[in-house]
């Protein structure tokens, strides 16, 4: 166990988060090595979003620790984590509809030096040609797929070492899902570490290095991606079939 923890870029250790009377996360432990793509699957209400939010600092955990690059960042403000290289693409994207695409990106570059910001924005325009055509358009006019791309582009502005994505394919048409998965591949080939929560469990597990299955605030299964994807009882594990 200790050997595995060496060299982990992200270590979540026995994290517990509560909402009032509800314990949404119950001593959850997740380890991520640099360059890995780790999938987090499970039904709604399992606590996946709570886990990501607690990791990035949007929620304050009641117990447990989060270590990023060996440093304890438990309960740190998200702004500090973004500056250090840990970014979250939130569930349902949460782009700023009153701002233009360009402004969304510019704001996301707030932790980056001004000189670099322009350059990054150009890089995003390269990476996401669909956004380039809507550059000065209010983000409220984007389609679901474009909005998701913007959400990812925003997170990339701070050039994160670890990128957390919460259900990036939610509500997207199949062709857009393909685009998102291609994007994940691309990001991974850039050497980034990725933790992705995804509804499309089979698909994401088949491309992941490792995966965790969550239910009701706990990890109920973990293993390598293909191994989990191949499990015949995955659906039952996932959904709690008796």
């Amino acid at each position: 166990m200790d050997q595995r923890q060496h060299g982990m870029i992200l270590e979540i250790d026995r994290l517990t988060t509560r909402y009032g009377a509800l314990t949404a996360l119950h001593a959850v432990s997740v380890h991520v090595a640099p360059g890995e793509l780790v999938a987090l699957v499970g039904p709604n209400g399992a606590g996946k979003t709570t886990l990501l939010s607690s990791t990035v600092g949007l929620l304050e955990p009641a117990e447990g620790t989060v270590r990023f690059e060996g440093r304890d960042i438990t309960g740190f403000d998200p702004a500090a984590n973004v500056a250090a290289g840990l970014a979250l693409v939130p569930e349902r994207r949460r782009i700023f509809k009153d701002l233009t695409v360009a402004e969304n990106l510019r704001l996301a570059g707030t932790t980056v030096a001004k000189s670099q910001r322009k350059q990054r924005m150009d890089e995003m325009a390269e990476l996401f040609p669909a956004l380039r055509t809507k550059w000065d358009l209010s983000a409220g006019f984007l389609s679901g797929g474009q909005a998701q791309q913007l959400a990812v582009a925003r997170a990339l502005m701070s050039s994160p070492k670890v990128l957390l994505l919460d259900e990036p394919c939610l509500g997207l048409a199949p062709t857009m899902v393909d685009v998102i998965f291609a994007l994940l591949d691309q990001l991974r080939s850039q050497g980034r570490t990725i933790v992705v929560v995804e509804q499309q469990a089979q698909r994401v597990l088949s491309i992941a290095d490792r995966g965790y299955v969550m239910r009701t605030g706990e990890i109920v299964a973990e293993g390598s991606g293909p191994e989990l994807a191949g499990r015949s009882d995955l659906f039952d594990t996932y959904i709690g079939g008796s």
Binding site: G20, A21, L22, T23, A24, P43, N44, G45, E167, L170, G171, V177, D178, F181, E198, Q199, Q200, A201, Q202, R203, V204, S206, I207, T216, G217, L234, F235, D236, Y238, I239, G240, G241, S242
Partner: protein
């Protein structure tokens, strides 16, 4: 399933069930009344002692305190019970007091002071008592008008409107010199000396406040304060309780204003100022705006504090040191304590504490004294540690288990489009009476939106909802009264009410609007849910599983034809989910309702639902029994994704 009994329960039983819950309330109201009266009498006695040792200024202080208490309780009846901030009450008091003054000031004075007053006012001279009664009457009418507007609008708008009202009343009083004497005080108002009327007024105010709180309207108002959305889902209409609360509080404030003016012997616009409003609000909030005891405590605290700071500010010699004269120290104390309480203890120094309930709890079950409802360490409670509800044998209550004769719950082509996005697309389902039907689907499939469409929280773009032949339409509270009751994905109980009261308010509505259905008493529902031994605890102190069961018990108390449960096992372990299966079955059969359950936990769904509909991307993907659904490849694909890209 128990054998169905007669669909309409024996009227005697129905009456008894309803009356029982009402007499329970009496048993809460009377102790509270007596306890608060005793508290008031004790404080008054202390005050008398204090006053006897000094000048008449002290006497004035005591009567001021009592009159302020009347005003504070008036504010409490509306603000404390509805949670809506009103600044306009002293405007009502002003109108009432001016009415009284203009009628009661002796003619010969009026001819001198306001000779040009309209409507023959200078000639009229009524006795102070009659004039006061008329004044209160006018106050009530004004409160009804202002309350009508305030109750219709949302929180902030209501506050602003009442604030504007206060300003308008003051402006009119200052400017209509002919009528009111203008900014100068109108003197020679018949005087009230001594404490008798203020004391009587204070006792009366306590009584009105206590009885209002335990009245049906009061309880409904409090439910809307706790959670407006959940209250609507339980059939509670927000407007009427708020309006009634406003009118009752307006009447009491009118009375207080009249007392005040009569104790001063003169009336002027500056007596009903914004600053005075803040003073009364501070007294209300500092003690705790939700209870009568809090109002009393706050009034005493602020009054005593102001006196002490006034004394200190006059530059007395204290312990040989001569203190400097500081003008305005009492105001500093007032604002300072208000701010301190808001920043640290927003529910007031006393919070939810009421002397009556506390005494009742102490003496009714002395062995339970250790389990006080505000104990934070409920983890030490054996029951919650084991998390096993003590389930008694299902009581044989007459009139239970009757499947409603209502007909099936059907939706026909129900759908809604938000912007360009079709959240729910042409969904038609049927839930047979007394049956348990499941609705599942991956995240974002539109399940909760569907429930919101059913219950009226969201307006559909297409389609209709029926129970049998009757179409369900209108606001959520109407649909709840028509037979559809629900629980919420995010759990919406009434947090500061007791467990019993959570269920009892729904029962109140059912008693009025669903009397044609057989009733399961509040106590039986609590027993069924394993909550009997916690019935007096504050709902927010319950552990999660019990809160979920409470929400279901509350929804059941509405005597619905159909129960809509939105993710009832969310956040529960497998064993807890299994218990929930039993629990939902028990409750549903006890009240004879059909059930539509939304959940992700297929174990739960398989065990409890006879028939399942699967939604994906807003439309129906598949239908069938739970086993069929579990093996349906389309369903598996929808949840897990269609394999490798």
């Amino acid at each position: 399933m128990t054998a169905p009994a007669a669909p309409v329960a024996d009227p005697a039983v129905r009456h008894l069930t309803g009356a029982m819950s009402r007499s329970q309330m009496r048993s809460v109201a009377l102790p509270s009344l007596v306890a608060n009266w005793v508290l008031l009498a004790a404080l008054f006695a202390v005050g008398v002692l204090y006053a006897s040792g000094g000048s008449s200024a002290r006497d004035l202080l005591i009567s001021d305190l009592l009159i302020n208490l009347v005003l504070v309780l008036g504010f409490h009846i509306f603000i404390g019970n509805t949670g809506v901030l009103s600044f306009g009450h002293l405007g009502i008091a002003s109108v009432a007091a001016y009415t009284m003054a203009l009628l009661a000031v002796p003619s010969e004075r009026k001819i001198v002071l306001i000779p040009n007053a309209p409507w023959g006012i200078p000639e009229i001279e009524l006795s102070p008592l009659v004039a006061s009664l008329i004044g209160v009457g006018v106050g009530v009418v004004v409160a009804a008008l202002l309350g009508f507007v305030a109750a219709r609008t949302s929180g902030l708008a209501a506050t602003m409107i009442t604030l504007a009202f206060l300003a308008i009343v003051r402006q009119v009083a200052e400017n209509r010199k002919d009528l009111t004497g203008g900014a100068q005080n109108l003197s020679s108002v018949p005087r009230l000396d001594g404490w008798s009327w203020p004391l009587l007024g204070a006792f009366l105010a306590v009584m009105i406040a206590v009885f209002f709180r335990s009245s049906k309207t009061g309880r409904l108002a409090v439910a809307t304060r706790e959670d407006e959305l959940a209250a609507g889902a339980m059939g509670i209409e927000v407007f009427t309780p708020r309006l009634v609360a406003f009118v009752v509080s307006g009447g009491l404030v009118a009375f207080g204003g009249i007392l005040r003016v009569q104790s001063l012997g003169s009336i002027g616009p500056s007596q009903f100022s914004f600053e005075f409003t803040i003073l009364i609000l501070a007294m209300l909030v500092v003690g705790g705006m939700r209870t009568v005891t809090g109002a009393i405590a706050g009034t005493v605290f602020i009054t005593v504090g102001k006196e002490v700071t006034r004394y200190l500010g006059d530059g007395p010699d204290l312990l040989g040191i001569s203190l400097p004269v500081v003008d305005g120290l009492p105001d500093l104390f007032l604002a300072g304590s208000l701010l301190a309480v808001l920043l640290t203890r927003p529910n007031g120094l006393l919070g939810e504490f009421d002397v009556g309930s506390w005494l009742t709890r102490r003496f009714r079950r002395p062995q339970r004294a250790a389990e006080s409802s505000d104990g934070p360490d409920e983890a030490l409670d054996v029951d919650t540690v084991l998390a096993v509800p003590a389930v008694p044998a299902v009581p044989a209550v007459s009139g239970t288990g009757a499947a409603s004769e209502s007909g099936a719950l059907t939706t026909a082509g129900l759908g809604v489009v938000f912007g360009g996005f079709t959240a729910v697309d042409d969904v038609s389902i049927t839930v047979a009476p007394g049956r348990i039907h499941g609705l599942i689907g991956p995240n974002g499939a539109g399940k909760t939106t569907f429930v919101n469409l059913l219950t009226g929280l969201v307006e559909p773009t297409t389609g209709t909802v029926h129970i049998g032949d009757k179409e369900l339409r209108g606001a959520p509270y109407k649909r709840a009264r028509d037979g559809v009751s629900r629980t919420f994905q995010n759990l919406r109980i009434f947090p500061s009410l007791s467990v019993r009261e959570n269920v009892a308010v729904a029962d109140l509505i059912a008693h009025d609007h669903r009397s044609h259905r057989s009733a399961v008493s509040v106590d039986d529902l609590l027993a069924l849910s394993g909550l009997s031994h916690m019935a007096d605890r504050t709902a927010s102190t319950l552990d999660y599983g019990n809160q979920r069961r409470l929400e279901i018990a509350r929804a059941a108390a509405l005597r619905p034809d159909f129960l809509l449960l939105d993710e009832p096992t969310s956040g529960m372990s497998s064993s807890e989910s299994l218990e929930m299966v039993d629990h939902v079955r028990r409750v549903a059969s006890a009240i004879g309702a059909g059930v539509l359950v939304i959940d992700h936990d297929l174990g739960f769904i398989t065990n409890i639902c006879e028939h399942v509909t699967v939604l994906d991307q807003g439309a129906i993907l598949a239908e069938g029994t739970a086993e069929e659904i579990q093996r349906d490849q389309r369903v598996i694909d929808a949840y897990l994704g269609s394999g490798h890209g």
